[in-house]
Subunit: 367 residues, 4 copies
C-alpha cells in the first residue's frame, strides 16, 4: 500500500477563546545563555504564537525543551538555552491553551489522539508485541521518503559488529534510503576496524573467532586514520574498502560523529565538544522527516530531544516527522517514552536482525 502523508489538522484560531487571547509576550534576555523568568519552553507539538491580532504563527523548525526567540525579521526561532544571546526576545508564558497568546496543538494529527479503550490490556510495547505491521509500514514509509523526504539514521556500534548487518546497512545507503547519519566515534572506529581487520573489538565479525592481539585492532584502526588524516583520505588511498562509513562518504551523505567520554582516539572527524556536536546534529535533524535510531540509547535520546514532531514543508503544508527506535530493552523504550517523546515508535529486537530484515524487505519489494 503506497504511503500517504496524514493530513494536518490546522487549528481554528479565529474563534473563541483564541479571538480574545492576548498577544504572546516576549521578554529580552539579560544574559547570554539565560532565559527570562516565566520563559515558555517548547514541547514536541506544533505551537502557535499570537504575534499580531488574529495572526498566530507556527515556528518552521522546532524541537522540545527550548525557548522561542522572535527575531527582528519577525521570524520565530526555536533556540537551545545555551545559544540564547543577551537581548534575544524570548516568548514567555506557560499556559498552553491560548490564554498567554500561546497555543500548543496536541491534536495536530490523527495518531496523536489518545486511544481510550476501557480495558487497556496490552497497552505497552514489549518484546511480545506484534511488529509485522511496523515492518510493512516502514517499507511504505521508506520508499516514500527516499523520494520525497529526508531519512536520518542514528547508529550505535552494534550495527557494525555483525557482518550481515554491516553489509545490509551499507546497501541501504547505496540504494538511497539514507540521507544523513548520526553516530559516535565507536561506530566509525569499529566500522574501520572491520574494514581493516574483519573484526569488531578483536573478534571476527563473521566467524566470531577472537584473533591474536585482537585488542590492538581498534587502536590500530584509529591510529591509521589519525596518521592518514581523515576517513575520506583513507578511502581515497584504498585503506578503507567497504562498510558503513565508506558508503556514506562515497555518496556524499551528511554525517556527524559526536564525541563521548568513552571514546578511544578519537577519529579526526569526531566533534569533541558535545554542544557543538549538538548544533551539528540539529542542522541535520531540522531537515529530518523520518528518524530511525538503532542500538544506541545515548544518541537516540539526544536525537529524540532535538527532533521535532512536525515539519513545515516548502509549500507551507505541515507533515509529521516519524521517529523509530530499535532496541533490545523495554527500559530503553520506556525511558524515551517517559521523556515525552510520544510519537516515537519502538521495535524491540536485535538491530542486526532489524537492519538485515529491512534491507531484504525493501529489496524484495523492488523486485
Amino acid at each position: 500500500m503506497p504511503f500517504s502523508l496524514p493530513i494536518y489538522r490546522h487549528p481554528d484560531l479565529s474563534g473563541p477563546p483564541f479571538k480574545e487571547a492576548p498577544l504572546a509576550q516576549f521578554v529580552r534576555a539579560e544574559k547570554p545563555g539565560v532565559a527570562p523568568e516565566n520563559y515558555h519552553a517548547t514541547s514536541i507539538y506544533p505551537e502557535y504564537f499570537h504575534l499580531k491580532k488574529g495572526v498566530w504563527d507556527l515556528p518552521k523548525e522546532s524541537r522540545m525543551d527550548c525557548v522561542v526567540v522572535l527575531e527582528d525579521t519577525g521570524a520565530l526561532v526555536v533556540k537551545e538555552f545555551r545559544n540564547i544571546k543577551a537581548g534575544d526576545s524570548i516568548a514567555c508564558g506557560r499556559h498552553e491553551n491560548g490564554e498567554d497568546g500561546i497555543f500548543v496543538h496536541t491534536q495536530a494529527f490523527d495518531f496523536m489522539d489518545k486511544t481510550s479503550e476501557k480495558f487497556a490490556f496490552r497497552s505497552r510495547i514489549t518484546r511480545e508485541t506484534s511488529f509485522s505491521i511496523d515492518y510493512d509500514e516502514l517499507y511504505d514509509l521508506l520508499e516514500f521518503e527516499r523520494e520525497y523526504g529526508f531519512i536520518v539514521w542514528v547508529l550505535g556500534p552494534a550495527v557494525v559488529f555483525d557482518r550481515d548487518a554491516r553489509n545490509a546497512f551499507a546497501e541501504l545507503v547505496n540504494r538511497g534510503y539514507v540521507h544523513a547519519l548520526l553516530a559516535g566515534n565507536a561506530l566509525a572506529t569499529h566500522d574501520v576496524e572491520a574494514s581493516l581487520f574483519s573484526t569488531g573489538l578483536g573478534q571476527d565479525i563473521y566467524s566470531k573467532r577472537t584473533v591474536p592481539l585482537g585488542h590492538y585492532n581498534h587502536l590500530d584502526a584509529i591510529n591509521t586514520i589519525r596518521r592518514v588524516g581523515s576517513l575520506s583520505l583513507a578511502i581515497d588511498q584504498g585503506i578503507i574498502t567497504d562498510g558503513v562509513m565508506r558508503a556514506v562518504i562515497a555518496k556524499g551523505i551528511s554525517y556527524v560523529l559526536a564525541s563521548s567520554i568513552r571514546d578511544d582516539g578519537p577519529l579526526p572527524e569526531v566533534v569533541a565538544d558535545a554542544y557543538i556536536a549538538q548544533d551539528h546534529m540539529r542542522i541535520i535533524t531540522r531537515k529530518a522527516t523520518t528518524v530511525i535510531a538503532m542500538a544506541t540509547q545515548l544518541h537516540a535520546i539526544a536525537t529524540g530531544n532535538m527532533a521535532p514532531s512536525y515539519r513545515v514543508q516548502a509549500d507551507g503544508t505541515v507533515r509529521p516527522v516519524y521517529f523509530y527506535t530499535v532496541d533490545m530493552s523495554e527500559f530503553a523504550v520506556s525511558k524515551l517514552a517517559n521523556r515525552g517523546s510520544l510519537t516515537a515508535r519502538s521495535i524491540l529486537t536485535n538491530v542486526q536482525d532489524f537492519v538485515v530484515t529491512v534491507e531484504r524487505g525493501l529489496r524484495m519489494r523492488a523486485g
Copy 2:
C-alpha cells in the same frame, strides 16, 4: 557449505589408567524414587561405565542430573530420580576419571575443547555478539537434519502473537523442518485465538488494535476447544483453519503441551501433571538431534535439562545433539549456561525476527 557431522572422539579406554580401573559399582535402591548413597549423577557428557573387565559401556540415551540403572538385560538406562523403582541397580561413584569405573568424556567433540585465549576479550555472548554465522550454520544444519535428523522445536507463546512469525513457523512445519513440538497451554491457546479472532490476548496480531471485549478472546478460544473436545476435532470441523497447531496436527507431528500454574483453561490436550509431561517430553527429546528453544525460559530450561549432548545412532556412531536458544535477555542465556548446558548456542534477538528470518533464509536457499 553442506553440513557434515563432527567426528566423535572415541576414548581409548584400553590403556592406563582405565585398564586397571575397577568395575563400576551398582547398588540396589531400597525405596522407590530414592537413590542409594553415593549414587552417580549424569552430566551432559557421554559417560562410560566399566561393566566387565575391559568393557566400558555408553548409555544409548542420556540426560543430565539422573541416575544410571543397570537393567537385567545388561542395558544402561538413564533414569530420573522420581522414576527409580525399589530394587533398581544404580551406578555409584562420583569420580569421573575412571577410578570408580566411570569415565566422563568431556572432550568428546572438537567443539567441547575450551578455548584458551589469554585475553578473553568478548568471551560472553551478548546482544552485540555477531550472529551472521549462526544463521548460516543453522541453515546448513536444518537442511541436513530435515533429511537425516530429528528437529525438536520448543516454543513460547510470543511466536504466535505476531502474524508474520506465526505464518513463518507454520511454513517451517509444512516444509519439513519441524519433527516435534514442545510447548505449553499458552502457545496453543493463543494460536487458536489467532485463528478464531486474529488476536493475541485481545490485540490484533497484525494491526495491533485492541478489539472490544478482546479480553474474552482467549477464554472463548479455550471454551470452544473444550466444547468440541480437542484441537484435532476443531481442525476437522473447520474451526481452526490456520496457524501452528493446525500445521503440526495436519502433518501428524508429535507434540507435548505441558501444564503450568499460569494456565487458563486448559486445552484438552494439555498434560496436567508436570512430571508426566516431563516423561512425554523426554520421549521426544530422546530422539532429538537438534533442539531449538524460542522465547520461553521455562520450557527451554526444562528441555535443556533432559536433552543429551550426544546420540548413539542406529549404526553405532555417536553424534552431537545441537541445542539453540533464542531469547531477548542475557539473563536467560546466562542462566542456561550457569546450569551447565555448555553446548547450547544462544542467539539474542526477538523470536519474531528470528523465525521470519530463518524461514525466509531456508526458502531463499531452496531457490
Copy 3:
C-alpha cells in the same frame, strides 16, 4: 504513619440506569468444564449481579477470567472453567454497565481512578522510578496486615541463593509477617540445599565459592528429603536446621509448592498436577489481603491471575487486596500490567536487597 484502609465506594445501584436494568441471566452448563455461549467472564474489579429486582449481589470471593455460578443456596461462586460442572448455572452477558444485569465497578477505590495528567511524563514504572515511598507504605501496610490481614508471599528461588536474603526472609516469618507461602520445587530444594551444604546450585551462598562436586548438592538435598519422606520429618530429625522452609513449617504456616516441568526431584510436598496446585493456591489467595511476589514471573502471574482486587470482610465491608511484584526487569512488570492486573505495584530491584531492606526496615521501626 499508621496504615488505614481506603474506603470502599459502594455503588449506588438504586437509581437509573440500574433501577430499570434486567436481572442477570444464568444459563446451565451442558458439559463439565465448558461454559455456555455468551458467558460472562470476571475481571479484577468488584462486580454486581442483579439477582432480584433491586438486589445486586457481589460475590464474596473473586478472581479474573472465571465464570460466575449461582448456587442453589443463592450464593455467587466464581469458578475456573475447568471446575464447571454440568448443570452449573452460569452468568451470561458481556455488557458491564448494568444493561445485562451485571455491573463492573471499576471505580471501587480512590486509587483506581485514572490520573489524567496532560503531559504523561514519566508515567511508566522503570528502574529509575523513585521507590522510597513504596518501602514506607509497605512497612505501614505490613504492620497493619500482620495484625488484621493475611499476607501471602510468592517466592522464586533467588531468595535462597543469597545468605542474607534467606536469613531475612526466615526472620520475616518468625516475626509474623508471613501468613502463607506460594512457591515451587526449586525454592524449597535450594533452601534445603543451603541448609545441608550452605550452597545454592553448588555455589556457596555467602562466599560464592564453587565447591567440588557442587552440582550434586541439590540432587543430594532432594534425594535426602525423598528418603526421609517429607520436609517436616527432615526438620524433626534435625536434618534441616535453618532457612525458609524450616521457619514456615515450624510456625505452621500454609504453603503450596507447585510443580513445573523444570523440576528435578521433586520434593515429596510438591503438587504434581498444575491444576490441583492452582486449586490449592486459590484456597490461599482467597484469604489474601496483601500479596508480595518476588523474583518469579511464573508464580507471580499465576497468583496475580487468581488474586482478587478486593475482599468482602466478615463484617461486610469491602477492602482492597494489595499486590506487589518485585523484579529486576521492566518486561516482567509490563507483562503483568498488560494482563490487566492494574492494581499491582511494582518495585524494580534485586529481591535480595528488597527482602533484606524490608526486614531491616520493619525491625528498625519496631525499635
Copy 4:
C-alpha cells in the same frame, strides 16, 4: 573483619628468560596524536619495561589502551593517543612475555589467578548471584579506604531520582566515604531540580506525583544556575540547600561533570569537550584506590577504561585498585567484562537500594 591489602607479587625479572631479554624499544612519534608502527598498547595489568640491562621499570600511573612514553627524565608516562606529541619516545613491541623487553604481569595479585574448576557451573554473575559477601567486603574496604585510600564514585542520575538514595549518598559524602565524584550534567541537573522543586524530571522524588508543569522543572533548575553563574554561588546564596552536589561542594571534594550530547543546558560547571573531560577525569582516577560506578553505563565504561588495576604508593609498594559496578542489567556487566576489565566486581541491583543499604550498613557498623 578489618580489611588488609593483598600482597603484590613482585615478578622476578632477574632470571631467564628475562635476564637475556632485549631492552624495550622506543620510537619517536612523527606526528602529534599518532603512534609509530608496532607501538605497544597498555593493558589493565602492571607492565614492566626493560630500560637498562637488568632494570625493569613499572609506570607509576597506568590505564589500558594507551601508549607508554619515555620522558627525558627517564620516567615512563602512560599517554592517550590524542595526547601524543611529535617527538614523543614511544614503547614498541607487542609480545608480553619479555621478548620485546616488555613484561605484562597478569598474575600480580592472588585474585587475578583464573579459577580452574572443571564444572564451571554458575560462573557468570547474574541477578541470582549471591551478593551478601560483596556488601560485607565493601564495608571493610570503605572503612579502610576512608582512612588510607581514595574513593571515587561515578554516578548516573538515577541516584537522585529517589529521595532516600539521594539522602543516603549525601550522607556518605558527609561521613567521609567519598573522595571524588565523576558524573554528567544530568546528575547535577536533577539533583538541583530535587533541591529546588523536590522533583526529578517533574515527578516528586518521594510521592511520585507528577506535578503540574513539571516538565519545566529541570529547565528551570538549569536556567537558575546559569543565571547565578555556578553551583557554588547557588549554594552560597541559599538556592541549593541539600543533595549530592551541595554535600560534595561543601566538603571541597573534587568532581568532574562531563558533557554528553543528551544534555539540556548545560550547567556552567560541565566540561563541554569530551576529551578535556577525559583529561580531568583521569587526573582523578590516577589517584583512585577504589572506584564505585552506579547506574551509568557511559560513565562506568569511561572510567573503567582509564582506571588502572594497580597503584604504586608513595612508599613504593604496589596495591590493587578496586572497581565496582552496580547496575540492573547483565548486559551492562557483560559489556564491561567483554572490554577486558577483569578486575571489576559487579553487583546487580537497583542503585537506590544499593546506596541506601551501603549507607545504613556503614552506619550500623560505626555503632
